[in-house]
Subunit: 419 residues, 2 copies
Amino acid sequence: MNLADEIEELGRRSRAAARQLAIAPRAAKDAALEAVAAAIEANAERVLAANAADVEAAAHRGVAEAMLDRLRLDATRLAKIARQVRDVVQLPDPVGEVLRAWSPPSGIRIEKRRVPIGTIGIIFESRPNVTIDAAALCLKTGNATILRGGSEALHSNLALAECLRTGLGAAGLPADGVQLIGRTEREAVKLLAQLDRWLDVIIPRGGEALIRTVVEHARMPVIKHYTGLCILYVDAAADLPMAARLAVDAKVRRPGVCNAIETLLVHRAVAPDWLPVLGAEMRAHGVELRADPAAQALLGAECRLAEEADWDTEFLDLRLAVKVVDSLDEALEHIQRHGSHHSDAIVTRDPATAERFLNEVDSATVYWNASTRFTDGGEFGFGAEIGISTDKLHARGPMGLEELTTYKYLIRGTGEVRG
Amino acid sequence: MNLADEIEELGRRSRAAARQLAIAPRAAKDAALEAVAAAIEANAERVLAANAADVEAAAHRGVAEAMLDRLRLDATRLAKIARQVRDVVQLPDPVGEVLRAWSPPSGIRIEKRRVPIGTIGIIFESRPNVTIDAAALCLKTGNATILRGGSEALHSNLALAECLRTGLGAAGLPADGVQLIGRTEREAVKLLAQLDRWLDVIIPRGGEALIRTVVEHARMPVIKHYTGLCILYVDAAADLPMAARLAVDAKVRRPGVCNAIETLLVHRAVAPDWLPVLGAEMRAHGVELRADPAAQALLGAECRLAEEADWDTEFLDLRLAVKVVDSLDEALEHIQRHGSHHSDAIVTRDPATAERFLNEVDSATVYWNASTRFTDGGEFGFGAEIGISTDKLHARGPMGLEELTTYKYLIRGTGEVRG
């Protein structure tokens, strides 16, 4: 079968499975997840052998060690993956919730009920654990998935997908509730993005280039964030020791994640006292600073001058752009122009300034006196996270189970006509 | 300026205006809407002259009378448009509503607040009243709009857009909160659909060809319905006089609207008694029936046999496809395969059958013993409607003011770090 026909067939099967999953009771979905965890444990040897083959092939092709580490599974990591599936079992099922019920003057009774989205395409890169994570959250919410992982993890993903399908079957649910694309052609991404006849939404999890390709071709909604260019603004009225704590937390703890900060804006009134202190602390943590001229004058000549591109770069590394601003308005302008509308923070003691910042910064998550690192489904108490969105329709910010649902209107009447 | 640069500039201005509209208080937005209504009344002569020029040019090009009627404004229609703007003033403003507020174990306080979507592109066809309707709902919800109307209504739309911009200015809000594309090249639709740098969402209001073009090129979410292929299923346990009332209401009253039915499915058990009666009634209303062989045998030889394409056609006319089915399952299967997931209904006295239908039909609005014609923002009590969506993210079914909003998370802390 050619690739296009094969993907069309996956879509058709996914829609059929989604119809069954949509009406599956919570008990069946939870039983399936339990069976998935058990299948991962029972097939650990086979999964690890498949993964070892992937890692060996990648090493043979000269893939860097950091990348190999993302690809690699071992008994501990696999046990953790199974445990996380069991954690999802414990979470409440949002499907079926009545969001609103009312009766307009015509007499019909309207119920707005939470239902699964339907069919979800998920495109991801090298980490094989995403196969299980993403499919488990979609299964819990009654959605069918078509997964497309990185080609370097193909054998691992095939083995893990088999565990997912086994689990579904064990609970009497359709195995096609989870399907993995077993072909490695890049063309598959484009074909999946054009499968709007069968797919309701597509979620790319990966680098900006992958996301741009998906958006370019997609004929259905894409849930994504391109980058996490998060910005911390230290106001004239900031508690400066707090500002240093938040800056270090948000830059240093995990520089490679999307809710780490990339740019620090400092009000001119506090820059002379605070920036030299902050600079020393950042350097002690190995952070390279790139500053505008005003900040450089305070940070010392060893601090590199920022280039224009630095304000638009998600470094994902121990690197921080620093700029002195004259006002809250200048900070808001900079965030609007250069930020990625993901997570931005202000440090200030002045509530009026803080509320202006919270109101006017158009980002999924805006912070007053707290670290941007809290943008996370776990930290929000969602119990699980399929990703973080900078889109606005409809999932914004950390996405848990509720964000994998939509709603429908059920109307019960007694023969009403509109006339 | 070339077209691409011009549209890019509209986008840039729209985003700047959206930032101001997002924080405008309800009083300012309502004052702007009042001023828009007043401007329409004060400039009635100019608007009607512009419209007369459009109608004359269209008539000169041989445009059909039905189309001219959609294009034509007169004093009565214009007064109604102004009145509808004042109706929007009376509606509550959903922006600012706190959807949820909680504090997770880290101690940060999270507020999930309803905010405007931001910038909305609206592409529509000949009716000039859409210019005002759509912009008024977006203005009320703090969204900036870029409008692109049909070229045959260009002068009417320019005159109406001037009233909108005058109203915004009179209330101290940015006139660029509403911008109309004054160029008639078809290329403008494609350029607007690719303006994801500036536009958050695009809403095409028009025929299927227009919508397909937008979806093909769009790099942002598109809110739409392609067609309204609504289906009525008359069950074995139906109240047959009720079924006839609902079928006539949903087919005959306004055959050209999206919530009218196009297909009637009838259970085999009631078809022999009921179909001849219904057929006579439909014919009395001038409805042409197209039937499958089983239905044709009951409806008589003058009833035309349905072709395969008839099950997938939104007739938008006094025409109805009729099919006899053996079971609820066959009806569900037909609806899944041929329906457009807009509005579908069952007539039955059996609650268990009804609940299966309501649960299993994956449409924005599903009905038990009521006419599909109720799918409408006004009938739902939303007070206004920007359209009806068969999309699932996030606006589904009739879309009022709430559906023109999204949310953001505002987080207030006392120096919390994640560590």
